[in-house]
């Protein structure tokens, strides 16, 4: 049994069920829809804003916001790749076929990582293009793909979605239930959006350091003074996901299937 055998096996499982593929298609659709809507919303805000607001407006910020929301569906892809095995009762069969559980978890994680990593840049491209079109349609300043840093952010989207997919895999192994893992996964991903509910000091910390917020810095085309540098931010997300995967692997190995 080689890692290659396990990868082929896991790829076969991944692409032969609809729930995971549906989630992936949904994520792409969501980035398109949200990309366009964020464009509309930011255009309204720009047109209603003061001169100072207008001066501070950066259309590239608008371009990738949809990715963070679509991340919810990307993490669900990772969750379902794992929990569909628990739900259908096939996990014992899979573990009997590949008793080296670390290898089994690694195979699943690798398949999800590759799929979600590859899906990221097209999602970013769709989101960016539609958002800039909806800005431009209202004569609000917009950016082009050729602008400095934009293609870097598009490529960086793959890192973001890939890590978010792996985050789903870790939660799937830890919680074993689709509903629980998707709910918790969603809540933790969008927590920075609720930062204003927390005391100021905590809110500031969350907006900067919470892993999903930090990871989204990879989309910052013009990193200003606020927030982490893009690579530091994605590094925070990567470290968190890696830690979660290690815990998931330890739990998966220790637990009866």
């Amino acid at each position: 049994m080689t890692a290659y055998d396990v990868l082929r096996s896991e790829w076969g499982k991944f692409h032969s069920i609809r729930a995971t593929l549906g989630c992936l298609a949904g994520a792409l659709a969501a980035t398109a829809a949200y990309g366009y809507l964020f464009g509309l919303a930011d255009a309204r805000r720009y047109l209603a804003g003061s001169a100072a607001d207008r001066a501070a407006f950066d259309p590239t910020d608008t371009g990738f916001r949809a990715l963070v929301l679509a991340g919810v569906l990307v993490s669900a892809v990772g969750v379902l790749a794992v929990t569909s095995e628990y739900a259908s009762g096939t996990m014992p069969v899979s573990v009997a076929a590949v008793p080296r559980r670390g290898l089994l978890l690694g195979g699943k994680a690798a398949v999800v990582a590759v799929v979600t990593l590859v899906a990221g840049p097209p999602m970013a491209l769709v989101s960016f293009t539609l958002s800039q079109l909806s800005l431009a349609a209202r004569n609000v300043p917009s950016a082009g793909l050729g602008d400095p840093g934009v293609l870097g952010a598009v490529a960086g989207a793959g890192l973001f979605t890939g890590l978010v997919g792996l985050y789903g895999v870790a939660l799937g192994f830890l919680l074993r239930r689709s509903a629980g893992a998707v709910s918790l996964g969603t809540f933790l991903l969008i927590l920075p959006g609720m930062a204003s509910l927390f005391p100021d000091a905590m809110a500031e910390w969350i907006v900067v350091w919470w892993p999903s917020a930090a990871g989204a810095r990879v989309f910052a085309v013009h990193p200003g003074s606020g927030g982490l540098a893009p690579l530091v931010g994605i590094g925070v997300l990567a470290a968190t996901v890696l830690a979660l995967l290690c815990v998931a692997a330890a739990v998966f190995r220790a637990r009866d299937v």
């Binding site: 096996s9 609809r18 014992p92 009997a96 590949v98 008793p99 009866d256």
Partner: protein, 324 residues
Amino acid sequence: MIEIRGLTKRYGDVTAVDGLSFDVRPGVVTGFLGPNGAGKTSTMRMILGLDRPTSGSATIGGRRYADLPTPLREVGALLDAHAVHPYRSAGKHLLALARGNGIGRRRVDEVLGLVGLADVAGRRPGGFSLGMKQRLGIAAALLGDPGVVLLDEPVNGLDPEGIRWIRSLTRDLASEGRTVLLSSHLMSEMALTADHLVVVGRGRLLADTGLDAFVRSAARETVVVRTPGARPLAALLEEAGATVRPGAGDELLVTGVSGATVGDVAGAHGIVLHELTPQRASLEEAYLELTGGSADFASAGARPATPAETQATTASMTTSGAAR
């Protein structure tokens, strides 16, 4: 060859498997028999490395399952026929399992043909009948052409045709020299399939014996005697070491001595016999006698019994069984 040594599994306060030791040898069908909740499935799960034993070990050819380099090529198992993804086609389900053990597509087609599912390879198992799911599960077990086959309650819910198919399949597998362990809670099924029996109750080993020896050891022979001289004969037989109880009418139910001894004693004292019928208990009775009191949810006396009580129950069931 499967070797179980001192295997114990506790789930919290519940001891599912309690110091079990036995071997499963190649070339014969070994029936793994016990009431529901006796620890059969837990034992099989530990053989497959799915559950970790609290203590003891289960090895296959001297190695733990997890240490087998390509486990499906050495051990095939069917634990739960419902364990298929409802939307993943039968063929793809098998192919994914095969790939992980370096087994090719051709073998997948082969086993699908072997179990008679070649025509539905592209269909989703969500719509399969239980019988078809069992066949799919057995196809998965046979993927790697393994030398050891474990089937957990394979005939549950099958129609007579399916039951007969499993029977001949397991016999064939054993006659090819494979090690076959087949669990069931039905003695009647084991009687038709198994050569060797491992009987468990409450996680403990109750018997590890050949099928015939099992019946002989577990059930005592009862001799039914009809005679006009019942009273003197009963006294004479008791002197000879038998236990005698009155049956229906002028019948005597004699246990502890053979039919021949009863005849000898009667003849020596000139007592006329109208009937002398040795009766062997059926397999089902032998089994119930052995496992009596160890069923997890016995219909009477639902409180868990201690080992001593279990023995007492067994003893009392022996007599009540014979008084039939």
